[in-house]
């Protein structure tokens, strides 16, 4: 089944997951890499042009060899030295990883890059793209042979909570133990749904907005039962804003120093 996520369960029972990169993002990263190869060849060409003025034969031979080495070795070199990333992959925050979460080996990098010869057939990586699209782990043929996947490390945009929630009294905060329980009971997708609803509230049709916040409020009221003084007279939309404030404000207060995401 195509899940878009690589989940690995360790023998200790811990599950960690990484989002998989799709064919389009990978194709765009490949285009950037091709651009880098072209620029490198232009620069090398300038130097070799000087050699060609002295010996046309030697200059031409070097050009053929250097182009061959750069076009084949570019991805191998960068993926090995940058732990699974090329310039294009870095820009799109992609990374080659072992399919079982093991250490990425040099052999794997060589195999996945040599098999580009078949993945690139008949043009513009049609075979590789099709295989990637059909494969449950978005693997092209080279990835299947090398037991690798390409994972994403997206940057999570932080909402400006101060701007969004400033100046509003939050009745739920009067009950810190219940607020803590709410944070505990709400799953990450639920929290994200509430946050997105608040962030995009002005984009909704008026009727739809009332209905949406009504449904969300009913859902979140069922998570933790707050006393009537915390919820009575609070509109559904305000209740959801309070929920978002409780969940995400706690996070903002406990935020770590910047850490390497990958």
């Amino acid at each position: 089944m195509k899940t878009g996520t690589l989940s690995i369960r360790t023998p200790e029972g811990i599950v960690f997951s990484q989002p998989l990169a799709g064919p389009v993002t990978r194709f765009l990263a490949w285009l950037i890499d091709q651009l880098c190869i072209s620029v490198a060849m232009m620069l090398v060409g300038l130097v070799l042009h000087l050699i060609q003025m002295v010996s046309w034969n030697l200059g031409s031979a070097l050009y053929v060899l250097v182009y061959f080495v750069i076009s084949i070795g570019y991805a191998i070199f960068f993926e090995w030295t940058w732990r699974g990333q090329t310039i294009g992959k870095k820009l799109f925050r992609l990374r080659v990883a072992d399919v079982e979460g093991m250490r990425l080996q040099f052999n794997q990098i060589v195999v996945r890059n040599l098999l580009r010869f078949v993945d690139a057939l008949p043009a513009f990586y049609f075979v590789g793209g099709l295989t990637c699209w059909l494969n449950s782990k978005c693997q092209r043929l080279g990835d299947i042979a090398a037991n690798t996947v390409v994972v994403r490390a997206p940057r999570i945009a932080e909402p400006d909570l101060d701007k969004l929630l400033a100046g509003k009294f939050n009745s739920l905060r009067q009950f810190p133990h219940l607020a803590a329980r709410l944070r505990q009971n709400v799953s990450p997708p639920e929290a994200d749904t509430a946050l997105q609803a608040v962030l995009r509230r002005d984009e909704f049709d008026l009727v739809a907005r009332v209905e949406l916040f009504g449904e969300l409020a009913a859902h979140f009221r069922g998570k933790v039962e707050f006393p009537p003084e915390a919820t009575d007279g609070v509109a559904d939309e305000q209740f959801i804003r309070n929920v978002v404030d409780v969940i995400y404000r706690a996070r903002a207060e406990t935020r770590m120093e910047p850490v390497a995401a990958c």
Binding site: I8, F16, L58, L62, A97, M102, V110, N147, P188
Partner: protein, 336 residues
């Protein structure tokens, strides 16, 4: 269950930082040998961080911390549970004199298969030319091979000027890169359950067989041997070894008689595939030099007997190398 997230992160962060530093060090120093105490500490840090990840996973508002911990656990998991030998520095002489021929011999049956398919192609191409000489333009798509062999030999032997003068180095580079691309393509087509690899090997055989029979029928056997042997005795086995690597991939995909999952089978042969294709690359570099600087010169410049003898010596050395090198304990100069 985490009640006070702030305190939890503050308490655990030193352990995460310590694990991160240790992982950075392990990744930066492939030869790092940890003491038993360091290993125990590494394992404890990994288990503690993994447990922290399990705790924080339920925390809806902590996607960044969760991602950070997932990344740490993933890196540590790879180091702790990896059972394959750690790739240390490469020793080129040891690789060349031991690893390459040993790998070749370990998968020699795939080489025989590669050879059999090529010989079948040779037989087909040779028979086709013998039975229907008019099929030459269909079988040989290269214009320089379509010429009448006798006419070509006369032209080559009576040439008054060196047509490769000032071009030998670039011609050699073209040959090396072209042949290496063909070899890599032959290898990569192993992913088509070996069908593509077999087609490439068969087609190479067809061309070889057709050219050989064409020159033999014209009575130019000596020219043919003098022309092809110096580079061909290296170049053709190189393509066969690329085919061997492609067939290894195919056999791992098919998995006949091996109940391990395809992923495990492919993982088991990936190192050998890379060794074989690097060996092919080296052979093609040599063949490219010889083809540009020796094979294209004929009598009266270089006697055919000398070229044939040179090719013969190369072939004997090549066979000895793949059959015998690395069979005994390594000589002193190969010791690490």
């Amino acid at each position: 269950m985490i009640i006070d997230l702030q305190r939890f992160i503050a308490n655990e962060r030193p352990f995460w930082n310590e694990l991160e530093k240790l992982l950075d060090r392990i990744e930066a120093e492939p030869d790092l040998q940890m003491t038993l105490g360091q290993l125990q500490s590494f394992h404890q840090l990994y288990e503690r961080t993994a447990a922290d990840l399990a705790k924080i996973t339920t925390f809806s508002s902590e996607p960044e911390t969760r991602r950070y911990l997932e990344n740490l656990v993933a890196r540590a998991y790879g180091e702790i549970h990896e059972t394959r030998e750690k790739q240390r520095r490469i020793f080129p002489l040891q690789w060349f004199f031991q690893t390459l021929p040993q790998t070749f011999r370990r998968h020699v049956r795939a080489f025989y298969l590669s050879l059999a398919v090529t010989l079948a192609g040779c037989a087909f191409g040779g028979l086709a030319i013998a039975l229907d000489p008019d099929a030459k333009p269909v079988l040989l798509p290269f214009s320089h091979l379509l010429q009448d062999p006798r006419k070509r030999v006369a032209e080559e032997e009576n040439a008054t000027q060196n047509r490769l003068a000032g071009l030998k180095t670039s011609f050699s580079a073209e040959l090396m890169t072209h042949n290496t691309k063909v070899s890599i393509f032959t290898l990569a087509l192993g992913m088509t359950w070996g069908v593509g690899t077999a087609v490439m090997l068969f087609y190479n055989g067809v061309i070889l067989g057709a050219v050989a029979v064409d020159y033999i029928r014209a009575g130019e056997t000596k020219f043919l041997l003098g022309w092809l042997m110096p580079h061909g005795v290296i170049e053709i086995p190189a393509i066969l070894i690329a085919g061997q690597a492609g067939l290894l991939i195919a056999l791992a995909i098919i998995g006949r008689g091996n109940r391990a999952p395809m992923r495990t089978r492919l993982r088991a042969i990936s190192g050998d595939v890379v060794t074989l294709i690097f060996g092919t690359g080296l052979m093609l570099i040599w063949a490219g030099f010889i083809e540009a600087f020796l094979s294209q010169y004929h009598e009266p410049i270089i006697p055919y007997d000398a070229k044939i003898a040179f090719g013969g010596v190369e072939l004997v050395l090549l066979v000895l190398f793949y059959a015998k090198s690395g069979t005994k304990s390594p000589p002193k100069f190969l010791d690490k």
